[in-house]
């Protein structure tokens, strides 16, 4: 069972020992627990946003009506929590710690102590972020992108004072924590692969974690530098992002104290981080989906080596496309053309991945277990969300769609929903390995269909309100009776629908929560390798929370590539990577 303490010690020290463990399995679970806290708060905040948009006068018990600054704080916190503390930590650090070492045949991560330090830095970052809502002046309201000069000058309005400082501090801590985790992942993959685990034999999940870690290291370093510069602009009168003669509330703020900076510098630095960040969030899901589709279809991953190449290509191109967030930011229009081309280019390795998924499942009559359903859901969201990417990559179309709900629809489908479906697939797939019990398939199906339907009902109509011209970050859609109100009013019926769908989507998570709680105690006991998987994390000697002693010193060897299935032999026909292949049966891999 999960984290069963060893005999001998009393209960309290055991718990404390578990809390400050350097065991990567425990740290992985701690990251997942942290992501659970963040996702619960993040979803709650989004429901208040949806409620406010359709009922602006609603009085929140214990708080009062939602004011414009409250709404913007909700937006900012929701984005920050979801992007950093859920979509970055859970797939990369959570499942990375739990599964990655075993998948490469290692019993440990490279730097256990550093690993724990990385988690506690991330946990501190979350505490600082949540704490920022209680300080004088309120939480930061500049959105998760924190564009200066709004974020650089405390006098720019509510949420730009101490709340903004804490936001910067929180993200800086997070960047440090993620940097530590990335170094750990990279070193582990490079140095701790077991005998026979060549680069070609690495599961695609490992390739995804590896690429995401590389991206993290590059992107978060730049973000950390940008955060320091912004902090200096705020408190040390430097002028990186504030231009000369900046006027706020009729007072010239920047002439004397700051130099002649440019807000565009922040946009470059931020998006140089911000775009790779979305690949950091989605790559592990892509890797897991590839492996799961193959496993449940009893097929090899179609074009395995091309899948490795496309993972690296997406990573490489991912750091060359940041300017597509800046088509209307005030750059030379030729820059728009350049970034349009690099962004269109990234659609091709992404399309190659989709083709591989389609070819892997094509006429395979797969086994529809819940992890498989969520993997198929991942493909669906990846396709539907991804196809609006090339639309937004064209500057002429972006100049109409930029910062509208069309963009919100695009990134929620591909990043939030595909990303979360990758996480759900991982939880359903690995629950037997971690907890020793199965999750209920029935509840899993209810959860899957509710979430799939709820997500499409919520995010598809956002394309339409975006096409209608409705901008993001609007605390209120009605108000001043002018041309804008007429334009925005036509989207209100759809906005109501979106809000109800969002409530349904959130409610669809209750079967999942109950499933996890129920199954952890009373679920059916799991077989050692219940999905007949081929990868090493299911090796009997690598069981994550086995009783002490059972994890023998047996040498782990990878004898073949993953995904060696025998389609003719049905569900039972497979060769795990740890199984020695008789010399007569060795085929060209």
């Amino acid at each position: 069972m999960m984290g069963t303490p060893q005999s001998g010690a009393t209960v309290r020290p055991r718990k404390i020992r578990w809390l400050f463990s350097t065991d990567h399995h425990v740290i992985g679970l701690q990251y997942l627990a942290l992501a659970c806290v963040a996702v619960t708060v993040g979803v709650g905040l989004s429901l208040f946003m949806r409620l406010h948009l359709i009922a602006p006068d609603f009085v929140v018990p214990g708080h009062g009506p939602i004011l414009p600054e409250d709404y913007l704080a909700l937006v900012t916190l929701h984005g920050t929590l979801m992007l950093f503390f859920v979509l970055t930590t859970a797939p990369q650090s959570g499942f990375g710690n739990l599964i990655l070492p075993a998948q490469i045949g290692s019993r440990r991560m490279a730097f256990p102590g550093l690993n724990a330090a990385g988690f506690w830095t991330t946990a501190l970052a979350l505490v600082v972020l949540l704490g920022s809502t209680f300080v004088q002046g309120g939480a930061a309201i500049s959105g998760w992108t924190a564009y200066p000069p709004l974020s650089a000058i405390a006098a720019a309005g509510p949420g730009q004072g101490l709340g903004m400082d804490l936001w910067l501090g929180s993200i800086a801590l997070f960047a440090v924590g993620t940097g530590i985790a990335s170094v750990n992942t990279l070193t582990t993959v490079i140095r701790f692969r077991c005998e026979g685990m060549t680069w070609e034999r690495l599961p695609l999940t490992v390739w995804a974690w590896f690429t995401a870690a590389l991206l993290s290291l590059i992107a978060f370093s730049v973000l950390l530098a940008a955060l320091v510069l912004l902090f200096l602009d705020r408190h040390a009168a430097t002028g990186f992002f504030v231009p000369q003669g900046d006027v706020l509330s009729s007072v010239v703020r920047a002439a004397a104290v700051h130099g002649n900076g440019s807000p565009l510098l922040w946009l470059h630095l931020f998006w140089f981080f911000g775009h790779p960040e979305v690949y950091i969030a989605i790559l592990p899901g892509m890797g897991l989906t590839s492996m799961l589709l193959a496993n449940f279809s009893r097929r090899r991953v179609y074009a395995y080596q091309m899948m490795i190449a496309t993972t690296l290509l997406i990573g490489g191109l991912g750091i060359l496309v940041w300017g597509h967030h800046m088509f209307v930011a005030g750059l030379n229009p030729f820059v728009g053309t350049a970034f349009s081309i690099s962004t269109m280019a990234i659609a091709l390795p992404s399309a190659a991945k989709v083709l591989s998924w389609l070819a892997t499942t094509w006429r395979s009559r797969p086994h529809f277990a819940t992890p498989m359903l969520f993997s198929l859901g991942f493909v669906s969201f990846f396709v539907v969300g991804g196809l609006s990417g090339p639309i937004l990559a064209q500057p002429i179309l972006d100049q109409y769609l930029h910062n509208t709900f069309f963009v919100v629809a695009h990134f929620h489908l591909i990043m939030a929903m595909a990303g979360v479906f990758g996480l759900f697939a991982g939880v359903y797939y690995y629950f037997p390995l971690i907890a020793g019990r199965y999750l209920s398939e029935g509840l899993g199906r209810v959860h899957f269909w509710g979430t799939l339907g709820g997500a499409y009902a919520t995010f598809l109509p956002m394309h339409m309100t975006g096409l209608a011209g409705e901008p993001r970050h609007y605390a209120q859609l009605t108000g001043i009776p002018n041309a804008a109100a007429r334009l925005l009013a036509q989207t209100l019926p759809l906005q109501r629908h979106i809000s109800y769908a969002a409530f349904f989507l959130a409610a669809s998570q209750l079967p999942f929560v109950w499933n996890v709680i129920r199954s952890a105690r009373w679920g059916d006991l799991a077989q050692p390798n219940p999905w007949n998987a081929t990868t090493l994390e299911w090796h009997p000697a690598l069981a994550p929370f086995a009783e002490e002693g059972s994890s023998s010193d047996e040498q782990i060897v990878a004898y073949c590539s993953p995904c060696a299935y025998d389609p003719g032999a049905g569900w039972a026909g497979f060769t795990p990577q740890w199984q020695e292949i008789p010399a007569s049966n060795v085929k060209r891999e």
């Binding site: 414009p68 000069p149 709004l150 720019a156 309005g157 231009p243 000369q244 003669g245 900046d246 006027v247 706020l248 900076g261 440019s262 807000p263 179609y302 074009a303 209307v328 930011a329 005030g330 053309t337 349009s340 269109m344 659609a347 091709l348 399309a351 083709l355 591989s356 998924w357 070819a359 499942t361 094509w362 006429r363 395979s364 009559r365 090339p390 639309i391 064209q394 500057p395 002429i396 179309l397 100049q399 109409y400 930029h402 910062n403 509208t404 109509p461 339409m464 096409l467 209608a468 011209g469 901008p471 993001r472 605390a475 001043i480 002018n482 041309a483 804008a484 334009l487 989207t491 759809l494």
Partner: protein, 242 residues
């Protein structure tokens, strides 16, 4: 191209460049929709049909992998080139010298529009002179003779059928100047002057929004764009300058 007007779809287009933009956008939407349906059909048929016996041959591999990729490369290339032509027409070069000159200034949380007056030249401005209380929201320098006839308005009034050269300025933070019905969006960035140009074609009143999160009052940073006939515009100008 036959266009289907979608419910809650694009608002009315009232600009000269908007027709081509709309056509391109709708073409893109149809292509994305078709590809999404196609992918889902392949996925559904694939997981519901029985498995074939044969492994993928080299020829099938070509068919499944490289042919669709080549087709998508051509398709995305075609869309990108078409989009670039439109982008180049609106953004690579400035407005014609005969275009109407207007300056739009964004500040928390209002837009101000300045017309250069009969001399056709904007007066000098400076940050120190910005004083909305003294009816000088954009900080025109009284010592500059060009500024004496400058006229500042809280609504953007334009004649139909005439190209506008809009100078975009932000005083405090980044704002997003957006007129959905003119298919126009451009950030106004403090410290920079950015030019955009467009030609309104239909008389009417349109929404000007702020689309870049600029603080507490972001959602109410709106203004009206009134497009008048040439005679109506001249009339408005005369009345305002009197």
């Amino acid at each position: 191209m036959a266009m289907v007007r979608m419910p809650w779809g694009l608002p009315r287009d009232a600009s000269a460049h908007g027709v081509a933009l709309d056509q391109h956008l709708i073409l893109n939407l149809w292509i994305a929709f078709s590809l999404a349906v196609l992918a889902h059909m392949i996925l559904l048929i694939g997981i519901l049909l029985r498995r074939p016996a044969a492994e993928a041959s080299e020829r099938r591999r070509l068919l499944i992998e490289y042919l669709p990729l080549a087709a998508l490369t051509l398709l995305f290339g075609f869309l990108a080139m078409r989009a670039e032509r439109l982008w180049e027409e609106t953004r690579y070069t400035g407005a014609s010298p005969a275009a109407l000159q207007v300056e739009a200034t964004g500040m928390q949380f209002a837009w101000y529009f300045r017309y250069p007056g009969v001399d056709g030249t904007f007066g000098r401005t400076s940050a120190e002179r910005v004083d909305p209380g003294a009816a000088n929201p954009v900080g025109v320098d009284p010592a500059d003779p060009h500024g004496a006839d400058d006229m500042v308005s809280s609504e953007l009034v334009l004649p139909e059928g005439r190209e506008v050269d809009l100078r975009l300025i932000a005083q405090d933070v980044i704002h997003g100047f957006a007129v959905p019905e003119m298919r126009l969006k451009q950030n106004a960035v403090p410290g920079q002057t950015i030019h955009v140009h467009f030609t309104p074609t239909d008389a009417g009143t349109y929404a000007i929004l702020c689309t870049q999160l600029c603080g507490l009052g972001h959602y109410r940073m709106q203004a009206n764009l009134r497009v008048l006939t040439e005679a109506g515009y001249q009339d408005w100008l005369r009345k305002r300058q009197r």
